[in-house]
Subunit: 355 residues, 2 copies
């Protein structure tokens, strides 16, 4: 198809500044949408146990060009399962839309995809295939809330609740950076570090973990199911970074948060490695995204079982602000103007730096 | 994300020759899949009335670059609804995955998309947004079989049944060609023909209809619902061309077909216009695709109500061959080698040309 047949619209209004601005506009022009958009999944009103979610992985946008098709398939499934995890659901049916360039190895993709279907007990139930210059894979999952569980949304957080993280954040962003800079490569599920990349041995292990966190995330389905069995919980999975996703959880629930930056799960190796590659700790930790761990709230009297290895990182507040206690720990030795611009980019107009 | 971080797999088996070859391989490696893939929609086993389908529209692959976002939105919905039509279903919920380049007019896209939701009475219930260089829109629709109806599949055709088309074929392919060659342009729902493109006035109207058939197809939902109320019917929507989709219907049902080429709904204007632009009638008619009309079978004693304007084009046979009676009508004055290669490309190894 050539370009010639279609003209542009005569005039276009300015584009939206952000995804959140677009979603706000949608809620405004169609008030019914507010019940549907804003959560990672939708709860379908057919008895109350069916949920649905969709996510897309685009070559060059969500993962590096040339990535093994089997890794693409596993990542696609993991990212979608993470949405179900945040809802306290398990997958039942998958619908796959796959557009691929010439020479794409469908055997490798589907062999891995069907392994994931078996591992997580869901049925590939339909899809469509197309050709394109740049691989695009979109997966819709229909899931079920198991008996004894409830749908977990972003809206059930209350002031006074504790705020928890289901794992570490920042590793994925660091791994993405290492791949993009050529410090690391990934082939058939194995990480190799470049010979020219020579940190201390303990940091080499951290670098390998970071690449793995980026390309091969693990959805926290069991943690999500546990949350669905609590009297009250709110959850979101960290796909766009702790900063943005915390803002979404708070906005959906109409609360604010006070975060103890010193309580964030930042292993010293990750901090050192971030410094070694001359990246901003603030950016990697709060804006990095794609960690696919759960950020959730629970009444202050409740804490998740120790085996989930969760971290209590703060408390929810009445005032709709996000307050970072001890943020200097992340911004010291960094360019103040850059830090400030990053924080504004995260939408923290009301940022208060108290200590 | 740069290219450097990821290596290609060491060796890849040869790619599949066709989508059908890939689907055959999938059925082989996972026998359970045969109950799921091969129809336009999946019937979910939760009481028997919920169906699901997914389709993707990629800029430059499925529609011309620069197409109005509102036309893209309407076409995306129409293409998906056509799959539900072939199943005898109506839409209930939509899940949209939309990846767009910088400057994409989301307002225009979503205004049109939400109009379609209202017109066809379904709820946009979730989705995800991403940035990419080339627009990709993927829609999953969950639908319902209305009371008194059944799920219509491709598998219920029997030898002796009549074969019907719900409308004309070839117009969409011709319209695509006119756009690609710059003979026609499309803006805000209106077709304009180039000044340099000067067929007879009656052919100008046919050209406008062809462009409209390509960019703005109409899903045959009412016809699908009628089929679902019959004792027995099989249906598929013509997305990849009458040739391929007829082959799929026959293969799914284990039958063959005898087509009366003289009965195909080929208006003389379309034939003349095809000749005027020096395209192959065989290619436009049988291989063109994207017509989104229903191809269906009914017991020979049954015929669809006249208001649906369907065309009886042949009969289904025991022998698993597709026989085209009077094919010379389409191939005369065309290059025999080209015709033969086109027919082979459609997978008609058993092609019999009887008259």
């Amino acid at each position: 198809v050539k370009d010639s047949g279609v003209k542009d619209s005569p005039s276009s209004p300015p584009p939206f500044a952000s995804e959140d601005a677009l979603l706000a506009w949608l809620r405004e022009i169609d008030p019914e949408l507010k019940d549907w958009i804003g959560d990672d999944t939708a709860l379908l009103p057919d008895g109350g146990s069916r949920v649905a979610t969709v996510d897309t992985q685009i070559e060059g946008t969500h993962y590096p060009r040339g990535l093994d098709p089997d890794t693409v398939a596993r990542r696609l499934v993991a990212v979608n399962l993470s949405d179900l995890a945040a809802a306290g659901a398990l997958p039942a049916y998958g619908f796959l839309s796959l557009a691929t360039p010439k020479g794409f190895d469908h055997r490798s993709f589907f062999t891995a995809f069907l392994q994931e279907c078996r591992q997580y007990s869901f049925q590939l139930a339909g899809g469509d295939l197309a050709s394109t210059s740049n691989a695009v894979a979109s997966l819709t999952l229909l899931g079920e809330i198991p008996e004894g569980g409830r749908w977990v949304s972003r809206k059930e957080a209350r002031a006074g609740d504790s705020l928890w993280l289901g794992g570490q954040v920042g590793g994925s962003a660091l791994g993405r950076f290492l791949l993009a800079e050529g410090h690391a490569t990934w082939q058939s599920g194995e990480v190799s570090l470049a010979e020219t990349f020579d940190p201390a041995p303990i940091l080499r292990e951290a670098a390998e973990r970071a690449v793995r966190a980026h390309l091969s995330p693990t959805p926290q389905l069991d943690l999500g199911l546990w949350l669905g069995r609590q009297d009250r919980a709110a959850a979101i999975d960290i796909s766009d970074g702790l900063g943005k996703d915390l803002g979404r959880l708070c906005e959906s629930s109409g609360v604010g948060a006070r975060i103890e930056v010193g309580s964030l799960p930042l292993p010293s190796e990750i901090e050192k490695l971030t410094k070694f590659v001359q990246k901003s700790r603030l950016e990697i930790t709060l804006a990095g995204g794609e960690d696919y761990v759960l950020l959730f709230s629970l009444p202050s009297s409740v804490q998740p079982p120790a085996n989930f290895q969760c971290h209590r990182i703060g408390v929810l507040t009445h005032e709709p602000e996000i307050e970072w206690l001890g943020l200097k720990r992340l911004t010291s030795s960094e360019d103040p103007a850059q830090s400030s611009s990053l924080l504004q980019g995260l939408g923290w107009d009301h940022l208060k730096e108290s200590r």
